[in-house]
Symmetry: C2
Subunit: 439 residues, 2 copies
């Protein structure tokens, strides 16, 4: 078999080969924008009738028969139906995610400066948030917790979940997680039509202010098209991990870490940086050996072969600038003392420090969010947080002394910008009652 890519920083062609790896696009260029625009327009025009129609066509069930909304009875039954071990695991995860995100709540400010100007900012939650949960393979209860809990911690009044239920069926683990996370409404709709319903509202479904959650190309395009009508979390792409490991690491552990990313999707990317050629070979062999034992082996093999890479460095000191160019969603630093490397990394979504911190522990129970920027977007974007469900109102208060102190400068600038009413509204409060022609 071919792949994964093997590079050595000492080879003369390394810079060019690494640049190719950085620029390689793993995102599908499906042009669904016209289809999505038509779906959004139909939901806006015809509301619930359009939702019923698309659900019949795409998901194969009649919402009036299966029920538009999952009932409380179904939700409670789903939670009661999971094993005690699983329920405990979900509760532990929910508690830890809640605690981590509670610390993200921003502080308000309110101060008076030397000029007598009172200045501040007040944070508040959006009224309603919508959460998209995919059906089928990518329907993960952990993802429900990671998306819903920050909204609840932010203090949203209403949290509505939408999920396609092919032929009416819904993943009970997803329902159980929704129950634990405190989702208010669960609607049996999916696709671009569900995003349109959340953004614009229908007779049955009230509109929301922010839409989050992963989805396929149609869902992603609908979020992009409706960005501005609602807030959205981010533009998401295929998942990725960079693992930095020295020769003292266990090759089997590191192989499992690389495979935990590769098993997600054929477009996932797993990259190993190491300074030990024998270790690199051992990991490569371990990956192949473990793939054969995985139920997800076919996906993992495709991902590893097509997108995986093993990069041999003269020293791990070379890693940080290379990592910054990849700006990976996940970064593992599997060395005894990861601090010096971590201090030099600038762009990564989430970092896993030391030999006993596999990325997968962060996917589930550690606390930080697993919704993270992909596709080099950690250069400018952050993981999902409480801030995605809040907004800030700035405020200002001046008295006669304060406006006397700073008002004249505002009048001068307004005049220079050719905005006389701006200048006049300030000048009048200075007591100078300047005439229009002066401004």
């Amino acid at each position: 078999m071919s792949g994964p890519l093997r590079l050595d920083s000492r080879d003369p062609g390394f810079a060019a080969a690494f640049a190719t790896l950085v620029d390689a696009r793993r995102e599908a260029d499906e042009d669904v924008s016209r289809d999505v625009a038509a779906i959004v327009a139909a939901v806006r025009a015809n509301g619930d009738a359009a939702l019923a129609d698309y659900t019949r066509r795409f998901d194969g069930h009649d919402l009036d028969t299966t029920g538009w909304r999952v009932s409380d009875t179904e939700r409670k039954a789903a939670l009661a139906g999971i094993s005690g071990e699983l329920r405990d695991a979900l509760e532990l995860a929910a508690d830890r995610i809640r605690t981590y995100h509670a610390a993200q709540r921003p502080a308000d400010s309110d101060t008076v400066d030397a000029a007598g100007v009172r200045l501040g900012a007040r944070w508040g939650a959006v009224e309603a948030a919508g959460l998209y949960v995919p059906g089928g393979r990518a329907a993960y209860p952990s993802s429900v917790l990671m998306n819903a809990i920050p909204a609840r911690v932010a203090g949203v009044d209403r949290l509505a979940m939408v999920t396609p239920t092919p032929n009416g069926e819904i993943n009970p683990m997803v329902l159980a997680a929704a129950e634990i996370a405190g989702v208010d409404e669960v609607w049996r709709i999916g696709g671009a039509q569900a995003i349109a319903a959340l953004a614009h509202g229908t007779a049955r479904i009230d509109r929301v202010d922010v839409v989050v959650g992963p989805g396929n190309a149609w869902v992603a395009e609908a979020k992009r098209q409706l960005y501005g009508v609602v807030g959205i979390d981010m533009v998401a792409g295929p998942s990725e991990i960079v693992v930095v490991a020295d020769g003292a690491s266990d090759p089997a552990w590191i192989a499992a870490d690389l495979l935990s990313q590769a098993e997600h999707d054929p477009t996932s990317q797993s990259i190993l940086f190491t300074d030990d050629a024998a270790f690199a070979d051992a990991v490569a062999a371990e990956v192949l050996a473990q793939i054969d034992t995985l139920a997800t082996g076919a996906t993992a093999r495709t991902s590893w072969t097509a997108n995986g890479a093993i990069i041999l460095l003269a020293s791990l000191d070379e890693a940080p600038p290379l990592i910054d160019r990849l700006a990976p969603e996940h970064l593992e630093l599997a060395v005894d003392d990861p601090a010096p490397l971590f201090a030099r990394v600038r762009h990564a979504g989430s970092v896993f420090l030391g030999r006993h911190t596999p990325e997968a522990v962060g996917d589930y129970v550690a606390g930080p969010n697993h919704v993270l920027p992909t596709g080099r977007r950690a250069r400018f974007a952050s993981g999902l947080s409480v801030l995605d469900f809040m907004k800030r109102t700035s405020f200002l208060s001046l008295d006669e002394r304060a406006i006397a102190a700073i008002g004249p400068a505002a009048v001068a600038l307004a005049r220079a910008e050719g905005l006389p009413a701006h200048g006049r509204s300030v000048a009048m409060r200075l007591g100078t009652q300047a005439s229009g022609s002066d401004l």
Copy 2:
């Protein structure tokens, strides 16, 4: 003349009329998406040659003759050329904006919890930011300060400004403001092609990570299309103000405040809420009287007539829920004690408290940002801040004890989600060395 709209909350048709006001779209539905997509593709394919071509066609000058980049000499000359009064005003504004935004820098976190899990988050600036500055009427030095200073406070390495210079000419006030704000590069390009150049980079212009700043429909659409390739500030629409004033206010002051919004653009919106019918009439008369004295009167008259509104309430206590539906960019509470009203308002971009706090003082010198969410977007969006130029990296560190404490829950969830490599990567570190078939 017709307009502005007059409503009374005691009229039977009020609810319907107010709903119409809330839903009225003032944004132009120019369909420029295909044109913009072509421009973006051309810049991506042909780089600087495409920029030179579009600049010749749209701005009427040859970049190789006028110069691609504004020289340091030109910039210093622009700063030296403005009056002392104006320079002092810009410096005062810059200092106050800098101070207000410095307080927005978020704190890092790094804690160890009872399970022995170390968790944290580290904030960092993006490497490079791009700032769009319109040419012509909307070229405001205050806007340069408001967009550039938060980037500098965030700590970006490089701040590149682009601005169209029709026939090669550039507003010296804008250049002076760029100099004061510490902009690194000023390029004589504008339109969608400038946004594409910032996002994708060309031979001459390095790409940036975040693009901010106002622009026309082409610029806005380019930002929307390139969102995800780069971070952007927001989707902007026409400006608006809501003024809440009681009968003790000076009608001339309030009229000037309404006009300070109306003079911006024919699509701007100024709305007065009051509980005093005679005051409402006095303000209406003052607006008309002042319009005739304004150099910007024609614009203000169109805006006020087409989009303005005077809403009479039985009591100002009725205002907060109505304000929340409008979610205005700017809100003035021109009463003696604005605190009770402010406490009940949930959605507004920026609030101006009391009789001596005209909105225009916030446009220039007060300190909070004047780049604010418009078109009802204060429901979910915030004004421009230091956070728009920063991103957060979460991190995690577990030792053997910590993974023993929380790892088993992760293994259980991974198994339930059908992701065996995830489970294995955690299980191996538990010392249980579970076989593939167990996972």
